[in-house]
Amino acid sequence: MSAATRIAAKDLRLRLRDRSAIIIGIIAPLALALILSTVFGGAFDAGSLDLHYGIVDLDQTEISEAFSGALGEIESQGILTVTEFSDATSAETAIEEGEIRAYYLIEPGLGEAVFSQQNFTVEVIGDIDAPTSAQIATSIAEQFGQGISTGQLSVGTAAVLTSPPPALEQVGIWAGKAGQADQSFTMTDVSAETRQLDQTTYFAASMAVFFLFFTVQFGVLGLLEEERDGTLPRLLAAPIGRTSVVSGKAILAFALGMISMTVLVVATSLPPMQATWGAPLGVLLLVVACVLAAVAIMGLVASIAKTPEGAGNLGSIIAVTLGLLGGVFFPLGQGDDFLSKLTLLSPHAWFMRGMGDLAGGAEWTAGLPAAGVMLAFALVFGSIALVFLRRRLWQ
């Protein structure tokens, strides 16, 4: 057993006996992941919309039935459900009771208006707190309306481009043809894989990585505490290399981080949370890379702080800021705006991104890019920290 591992093993025993590390490393993230996933999961289902619509058809003509038919077609694709109501009052009650999100009100006269080329208004009445559902309902009706006006516009355009103006008979032929003509566009589904964590796993992962930075602090701060308590000179007087003293603390920090993350991954996989972490090898890779990055960053903080308290405070500020930036409480940034680019400076963000890449049953190799970035963080900050700490020990 080398001096470094002996120092680490001694400190590890001490830290595990002091319950603080267990509270920060295991109990806090576990409790918060459980609370947050319960609160957020109960509030709404991970970004899905339940589209329940109603229709009140007071027109009862060929056209209004064609509209119901168009709705039925979308319903058969599993995108929404439609319920018929006999009058507006019962549909409104259904909205108030949360049974439907919006309903279509087709007053009498739609069929007649279409045949006589008059304007007609279909009403969409939606729950004020579900604007997206009402908007989708409106869009469906608009598309139906566009289908009707396409025919009218086609005939009208052809008529304007003909001189002298076409005979009534020609217009009739055009109207027949335009009714049969295809729309000028189609939409094709481009399949996309899921690379996003479900709500429960998101909070299991985000709380684990958030508290990881505080947990490894227990390790790296040990050096400053030995300095403060006067045990460091004694340690240095022993036939032990300075690098061994520093690596002893680094090994301890790494061990604490790995214990905390391993316990959390296993515990959150069990009931009641049952988080779905991805391919085990990929998860292990990301966890190791992330713990190394955390040790390096917190080690750098320790190397520039004067006292353990100062390092603790600065470390907390950095851990909280990087965590917030990395989206441990809520995802930050939209699309590829400035804020989204800023998040890439946070190892937390890369950890969450890597876990997302593993979601949806991807191979373990999907975690490689994010793990690589975190290892780069570890290498850069770790080397600087090592230089600073060694210099400090010489003085």
Partner: protein, 387 residues
Amino acid sequence: MKVLAIAINNLRRMLRERSNIFFVFIFPIAIILLIGAQFGGGVDPAVGLYLGDDGRVATEIATEIESDDRLSVIRYEIEEDLVSAVERGHIQGGALLPAGMDEVAASGEQVDIGFVARPDGFGQQLQQVVAAAISRVMTPVTAAQFASVETGADFFVALDVATSGAMPAPGLSVETTALGEAVFPDTLGQFDLGAAQQLVLFVFLTALAGSAALILTRQLGISHRMLSTPTSLRTIVVGEGSGRWATGMVQGVYIMAATFLLFRVNWGDPIGAFLILVTFAAVGAGAGILMGSIFKNDQQAAGVAVVLSIGLAALGGSMIPAELFSPTMQNVAHLTPHAWALDGFAELVRRGGTTADILPELGVLSAYALVLMLLSAWRLRIAITRP
């Protein structure tokens, strides 16, 4: 006034610590700013847009989709970036407009537009909204294709005619009305909701974190030394309590003033808002002193403080408004003082209430404060006098 001296000393100790300046004053404002920027004014569903070229049809479709103020539209320069953003859940879905749509349309063929959505989420439903916008642009294109075939006119000439507006208006218009009273009315400012939520979260967090200072006071024997002076136990207990309460008040008033000045946050009736803060800070002070008297190790207390204050805040609606919870979870939420304070702010800010309207909330908060204060006074007496 020894009570005042102890209280002021507590406050001074808090302000001297530089990291406290960050966590008490800078961090809450930063979070309010970020939450307001990200979620303020409701979250519009986000869709991505990729244009294969900047031809006429593509540009018109892009303009039409972007003019929909219920959608948040993000353009992507690279097709793969859009697909990956959908996969990562940054956007709900995205439309891929292929290159050469003008030529395809002019030749009378159908343009094929790709739509990226995930099997989960609501991208597929959102496709209807994008399709409606596309069909508004493509209706004249369909008409121009028809007319150009039938009359032999040039496609783009026909398109000019079809889009000139000389044609009869669309046969069907759709009117949307909203039913009911909005939980979050449009008058709610971008930062209003987040400011109240973070105020209660941070005032409580600071109060609980203050338990570490109390533990240190006991560990260092300051409490014992105070007792050896002609200072009654009652004075020390009240002084420590006032110190924690004053810390909460300083932070609360600061957050209210700063968010009002920086982000024009509406706090509603000032007296009502102040009273909520007074009672809520007292609840926090009581909880902080109670923790400070029960725990012996300040690091353990700090860990438990973080869990309790973030956990209770989440349950009480400081992260997602409790109004969006299921009925069961709403009942659970109202076991926390946070939910009552936020109800009070909602009454003042969203419904224009006055102090009289928030009496029930103030009553509940006062009851919480009283019970916690009595409990903490009892525990603190024991903790200080224990040899």
